[in-house]
Symmetry: C2
Subunit: 173 residues, 2 copies
């Protein structure tokens, strides 16, 4: 069975969408999306960054993220055909660890704790395929990498892209 | 730089020692060490297992484990010579996740969150060397495996063994 490594934030979970919704409702202004190259923090005014960062580190933030459209159904099918591991860069956020496990168990009851990996760096992760929105995670991967498109990585080149879960299904199922 | 993958429980942390000390002080009797082949739960009477399991799953249990003798000093030297990742099978225990991160940060301040991996299964972990007390983790590893000796794995054969952190130093430094 081939092994597929799937990222959580921005691929399975709409982390940035949740953060921006919270930001807009907290400050009553729009972030500057045009400046968010590489990091969405670049679109937030300097004086708001500490509060935003606090929210990101708070207990519960990663527990209540929306699931990307089509992700559950496609993941369930992938899980029958592949050895699936969900690998999330999470150890930077101590409160996210349990939140991410519970989020996965709630929305993806067909996956188990055996399939979740919470790490910082992903360079020691091996598999046949990797879907991730960060080039820094894909660059070390020995299998076939796919860049999951987000606003933040739109200028990256050199990787085959996946734009949504329908495309995951088209490629892998 | 060669990559070394190091297990946490029973290798860096004396998890079983802490559990047995708690058991003995709670029940006033010794566990049956002679029956603990593969799992220390086999040395606990049936009627105590649920309480013991609850203690294992409780918040704080993995936060306050003793560090194995010599581990800090040798780890600090390893960390200068190798790419070190601490890989712990932890997602079975939701409360252990943050506890393990904080434990690592307290006792090993020279390591960072980038070097910690909290997972269930370890089959997707790649590196040059792995030190682990479970054959089930070593068996999939493509690099050189070392079995860290514990009471529970004493009958296992087929792996080079490491018995303590002095031996880690002798082999790797």
């Amino acid at each position: 069975m081939e092994r597929i490594i799937i990222d959580m934030d921005e691929v399975m979970a709409d982390t940035m969408g949740a953060m921006m919704a919270w930001y807009i409702s907290s400050y009553g202004i729009q972030p500057d999306y045009s400046r968010m190259k590489g990091s969405w923090m670049l679109g937030i005014p300097e004086e708001h960054k500490e509060t935003v960062r606090k929210h990101l580190y708070s207990e519960g933030f990663f527990r209540h993220l929306p699931v990307m459209e089509g992700c559950v159904e496609v993941m369930e099918a992938l899980n029958k055909k592949y050895e699936v591991f969900i690998v999330s860069a999470a150890t930077e956020f101590p409160n996210s660890l349990r939140d991410k496990l519970e989020w996965l168990e709630e929305h993806f009851p067909f996956l188990t704790w055996r399939q979740l990996v919470l790490c910082g760096d992903k360079r020691m992760i091996a598999g046949d395929f990797m879907i991730d929105d960060h080039v820094r995670n894909l660059v070390h991967f020995k299998g076939k990498p796919y860049l999951y498109s987000t606003l933040l990585n739109k200028d990256e080149t050199g990787y085959d892209r996946i734009r949504n879960w329908q495309e995951v299904a088209d490629i892998f199922l």
